[in-house]
């Protein structure tokens, strides 16, 4: 059988060489198809990787730990003792590169010209940079300093303060009653002090008892938020909110930098400050809302989640991979793969028609020779193997050339990329599409098109091979 097979390969190779012009054209078509497929996979893989990185490397990390309901309904009260959880993480988990604790709350940001609702996130600047590389996204100004701001200790209320507090509370209550009565159609009794005056007095009392730090804590803004607030590095912004106990809290922050991540929601809504400053602002003590983990190998996220789940569940926390947190991005990556697969299938179908045509022509041209082979005792299966060998040799040679071409294209696209021009810098479902699409090379993206093209060549030449195997020697040898 081996001797037979080498004979078949020899005849197949020489037949291809005999019609080298035709073989070259078909081979070039196959090679171009493989190269195009590899380049398509490279660009799509590159785009998917960039999209995923745009969420994992700016905000999401690879794994997150929260209180169970926090993802659906983020509330200040859903904070947990992060120090103990972090200790357990260090003890249990292999493959975790860095961990960053965060506190998160919504505030009202005011500048002299504008105000906006803002998601204030407190991070440890050094740990956060290790997890999300936030420091690399600063476009103007600088990144957060590693040290927290020293906050003055709050003062206790004296007798005058208590009296003032009681009066202001009484006036606010009267004002509220009057407003309710007005809604029922009763005449509005003017209060002794207007709402605005009472609010100003309240703020003054608050600032005297819990004064701002001597220097405003540093703050980073997303670039779209900065534009909305007309705030550039150096600008002072007052943040107002309710703390963990429901008390009003307010502090002035200084914008030190503006970041652009490409993630539209992040850039439009987020302000970032030192975790100690934000904890102080919200009276959160040492607690956190979120632990974000960066892994050495991102694809190991499910394994890490399994390793952490027991310890996290014991503390009433939930652990999720980025894929579980952002299924929309996973769907988009899958959709990208689907589009690529469709494109690749079309390219393969065209190449397969070329292969079938070439092999079919070769079979018709050589009917007499095939008839002789059958006459001298070659069995139909061996004829099928002979014809398939021609297709495999052609497909293999062309696929190798195509792989080399495809890798070359990927290398060029990886280095220089495809600029998207006017389409640049947008995001899909919060995942940034980079202004320049770069190809990324994966083993699957390179070998799959080559192997699939080879399989397609085999399949496409099956029909001509069966025709060849069915050759009637007597009829075939009569042909001139």
């Amino acid at each position: 059988m081996l001797a037979n097979f080498t004979l078949l390969l020899r005849i197949a190779g020489r037949n291809l060489w005999r019609n080298r012009g035709r073989s070259l054209i078909t081979g070039a078509a196959i090679a171009a198809g493989v190269a195009l497929c590899i380049a398509s996979f490279g660009i799509m893989d590159g785009m998917s990787s960039d999209m995923v990185r745009s969420i994992t490397d700016t905000n999401l990390g690879h794994v997150q730990i929260h209180a169970p309901d926090f993802s659906a309904r983020p509330k200040l009260s859903l904070a947990f003792d992060q120090a103990r959880v972090r200790t357990e993480l260090a003890a249990h988990t292999v493959g975790v590169e860095a961990v960053s604790a965060r506190v998160i709350g919504w505030v009202l940001a005011e500048t002299p010209r504008q105000s906006a609702s803002v998601e204030l996130v407190g991070v440890d600047p050094i740990r956060e940079a290790a997890v999300t590389q936030l420091d690399r996204h600063v476009r103007r100004g600088r990144y957060l300093p590693s040290a927290a701001t020293p906050w003055p200790e709050p003062k206790a209320l004296n007798a005058d303060d208590r009296a003032l507090d009681a009066r202001l509370t009484q006036e606010q209550a009267k004002l509220a009653e009057a407003e309710i009565a007005a809604l029922d159609g009763a005449a509005l009794t003017p209060p002794q002090a207007s709402g605005h005056e009472a609010a100003a007095e309240t703020r003054a009392l608050l600032e005297r008892l819990a004064p701002d730090p001597s220097a405003p804590p540093p703050l980073l803004l997303g670039d779209r938020l900065a534009k909305r607030l007309h705030a550039e590095p150096g600008a002072k912004i007052r943040l107002r909110a309710q703390d963990l106990d429901g008390n009003p809290t307010s502090a002035a922050f200084r914008v030190v930098g503006v970041v652009h991540t490409g993630n539209a929601a992040f850039d439009a809504n987020r302000a970032i400050a030192h975790i100690a400053d934000v904890r102080h602002f919200f009276s959160l003590g040492d607690r956190a809302h979120e632990l974000t983990l960066r892994l050495r190998v991102p694809s190991e996220a499910p394994r890490v989640v399994r390793a952490l789940e027991g310890a996290a569940l014991n503390r009433g926390l939930s652990v999720k991979t980025w894929q579980e947190l952002r299924p929309d991005v996973v769907s988009m990556v899958q959709m990208n793969s689907g589009f690529t697969a469709m494109l690749v299938t079309i390219i393969f179908a065209i190449a397969a028609i070329g292969v079938a045509d070439t092999i079919l022509m070769a079979v018709f041209e050589r009917r007499r020779e095939l008839g002789v082979l059958k006459a001298v005792g070659m069995r139909p299966l061996a004829i099928v193997v002979l014809i398939e060998s021609e297709a495999v040799l052609l497909g293999l040679g062309a696929s190798i050339v195509g792989m080399a071409l495809g890798l070359g294209i990927d290398a060029l696209l990886g280095r220089f990329g495809i600029p998207l021009g006017g389409l640049s810098g947008f995001s899909l479902a919060g995942a940034a599409i980079p202004p320049v699409l770069h190809a990324s090379v994966t083993v699957q993206g390179v070998f799959l098109p080559a192997v699939a093209m080879l399989a397609m060549s085999l399949l496409a030449s099956l029909w001509p091979a069966l025709i060849a195997a069915g050759t009637e020697p007597v009829l075939a040898m009569r042909e001139r």
Binding site: M1, A3, N4, L7, R10, I11, R14, N15, W17, R18, R368, E369, V372, L373, K374, A375, V376, G377, M378, R379, P380, A382, P473, V474, M477
Partner: protein, 234 residues
């Protein structure tokens, strides 16, 4: 199928073959009966259309009869499937065609090795037998030439080498000298006679050339698909 077997190498009983050409049924063979012994040198003679090629095709298991029986080496071809017929052709029957029918992509040596390789013989055996056979047909110096680089007579000698290299007992030749000049034809016939005598090969070939027919030890004449004469020389 032993070379020394006393049973007829070929036995034909009441053999009929009809073709359909459009609406017309053509009777190519009509009740042919024939027996060929081992070591015979038989010429099938007759004009074009007399049924010579059809008869060789049926004996060579390249076509099936409409009715009647073909036995080669005692085996009834009608009872064999396609695979068995292919093996029979590979192992027991050598073919020489009018148009040589060598594979143009193989050298003379590789063409002579072809059937040996199909039989699964070792590389060394294939090489040794093919070289020795090509030597015996006078082509020792041309073994590496492709068919396109050989004359008609040389190509037909390669075809003879291919037919006999695997030591088969029955050689069927359809008008083997038809495309050759008289000198090459004479030389080929000398070679066939020598192989018949020296290797005890059974030759059954067709021709309508009187010079070729004169070389046959037995001449079977066909007309309109029927055997009209069966003569032995001397």
């Amino acid at each position: 199928m032993s070379e020394t077997s006393r049973a007829p190498v070929v036995e034909l009983r009441n053999l009929t073959k009809t073709y359909r050409q459009g609406h017309v049924e053509v009777r190519a063979l009509d009740g042919v009966a024939l027996s060929v012994d081992a070591g015979d040198f038989v010429v099938l003679a007759g004009p074009s259309g007399s049924g010579k090629t059809t008869l060789l095709n049926l004996i060579g298991a390249l076509a099936r009869p409409t009715s009647g029986e073909v036995r080669v080496g005692g085996r009834d071809l009608g009872a064999m499937n396609g695979r068995e017929l292919a093996l029979l052709r590979r192992d027991h029957i050598g073919f020489i065609f009018q148009a040589y029918n060598l594979l143009p992509v193989l050298s003379a040596l590789e063409n002579a090795e072809l059937v040996l390789e199909l039989q699964g013989r070792s590389r060394a055996v294939c090489r040794e037998r093919a070289e020795s056979t090509l030597r015996s047909v006078g082509l020792a110096d041309l073994v590496n030439r492709r068919p396109g680089e050989l004359s008609g007579g040389q190509q037909q000698r390669v075809a003879v080498a291919r037919a006999i290299a695997s030591a088969r007992t029955l050689v069927l030749a359809d008008e083997p000298t038809a495309n050759l000049d008289s000198k090459s034809a004479e030389s080929l016939l000398d070679l066939m006679v020598e192989l018949n005598r020296g290797h005890l090969l059974t030759f059954l070939f067709s021709s309508h050339d009187p010079r070729v027919i004169a070389r046959g030890r037995r001449v079977v004449r066909l007309e309109d698909g029927r055997v009209v004469a069966d003569e032995r020389a001397g």
